[in-house]
Structure formats: C-alpha cells, structure tokens
Amino acid sequence: MNLSIALFGITREIVGAPTLEVALQPGQSVQQLLEQLHQTYPALGELRSLAVAVNNEYAPADALLQERDEIALIPPVSGG
C-alpha cells in the first residue's frame, strides 16, 4: 500500500518536503513505519521524540495502518 505522510516543523526540514510517499506492505504497524523512516532519514532518530498521528489522533506503536488513513509525523510539539 502507498501512504502519504504529512510532515511539519523539523521533520519537514529533515525530509525536505511537506509530504512523503511511502510504500509499505499491507497491515504494517506504526512501529514498522517508524523503523523504515529512521533507516531512510537517520536525522529523525536524533529528535527528542517522534510520534505518528493517524486521523488526527496520536497512534500507539502497534496500531495498524490503512491506505486511506490520514497519517502525519509529529516531532516534539512547542506550541503556547
């Protein structure tokens, strides 16, 4: 399946684009997505934290991804 991942803040700068297209096996988890991204972009591993949002909610590491999900990387937030 092909996922389109929205990027913000420092993750957008690390990847160099506002979205990232990723090809994954069907039924892969958040954890597996993160492992794949860390291999391609080692600088993501230097962040204080990196969460994945699925459909506007923080997703646990074992959540399974589906092609129609709205997915985003969430580096450490700093609003306020």
Partner: protein, 138 residues
C-alpha cells in the same frame, strides 16, 4: 466553547468578554506572548507552524477534558496563533469562567499545560544569526 487556530491577531478583550457568564464569578485567563529572549539568546521573531486539522481537534479535546474534570466550568476559550509573530505579540490565550475562583485557576492551568504537551503546533525561534525549532532535540 470558543476554539480557534488563527493567523490573525487575537483580540484578548473579546475573548474575555466571550467567557463571561452571569452565573460565573471568576474568570481566569492566561496569555502567552513572544519574549525577546529564550535560553539566554536574543529572539528576533517567531514562526509558528500547525498541523491545522489535528491542532483544532486536539485544542477542542483539551477543553473538553477540562470540562469533564471541572464540571462547574461555565465557558472555555482557547485561541492559538500561527504564522510569524513579533516580540510582544500574543501567541495563545486560554480563558475560563467558573462560579468560584480556585477552579478557574486550576482549569486554566490544566488547559495551557496540556496544550503544550499534545497540540501539534511548532515554533521556530529566529535569532540574529539563525533559527531553531524549539524543543526538537534533547
């Protein structure tokens, strides 16, 4: 409930007006403004970036959580700026009204503390010699 993520200046007086209620004797508000320094460095301006849909969703959720914890909460307003802000500009306003004062302080502090942990908004500080995404690295 007034929830807003906006690229326009926040009208603080209008926000305070919005949370007043005849049954509420107490209004507590927190205003976050842009400081001229951060960890010892002189800040020139700030750039806020938001994941708009999720940010609004999470702002609303934080306000709802406060209403669950403090059922006597009468009105809640949470407004956050995005885009480029100058020193002294208002970045965030939280305002709540309650019948008595102790709950107004507690609920307002809960909202701003939780907002800063969960709402997907990022700020990049601009100094005279560069920029840094705040809190990104350990």
């Amino acid at each position: 409930m007034l929830i807003q993520l906006t690229d326009q200046p926040i009208d603080v007086a209008a926000v305070l007006q919005a949370v007043q209620a005849d049954g509420a004797g107490a209004v507590n508000s927190f205003i976050g403004t842009i400081r001229n320094q951060s960890t010892g460095r002189r800040v020139v301006r700030l750039h806020y970036e938001a994941y708009d849909a999720m940010a609004v969703h999470q702002l609303r959720r934080v306000a709802e959580q406060a209403q669950e914890r403090w059922p006597m909460l009468q009105q809640v307003a949470v407004l956050h700026r995005k885009g480029t802000l100058e020193i002294g500009d208002v970045a965030v306003v939280v305002a709540v009204s309650t019948p008595h004062r102790a709950e107004s302080f507690a609920a307002c502090q809960y909202i701003i503390d939780t907002l800063k942990e969960v709402v997907p908004i990022w700020k990049k500080e601009e100094y005279e010699d560069g920029t840094v995404w705040v809190a990104a690295h350990p």
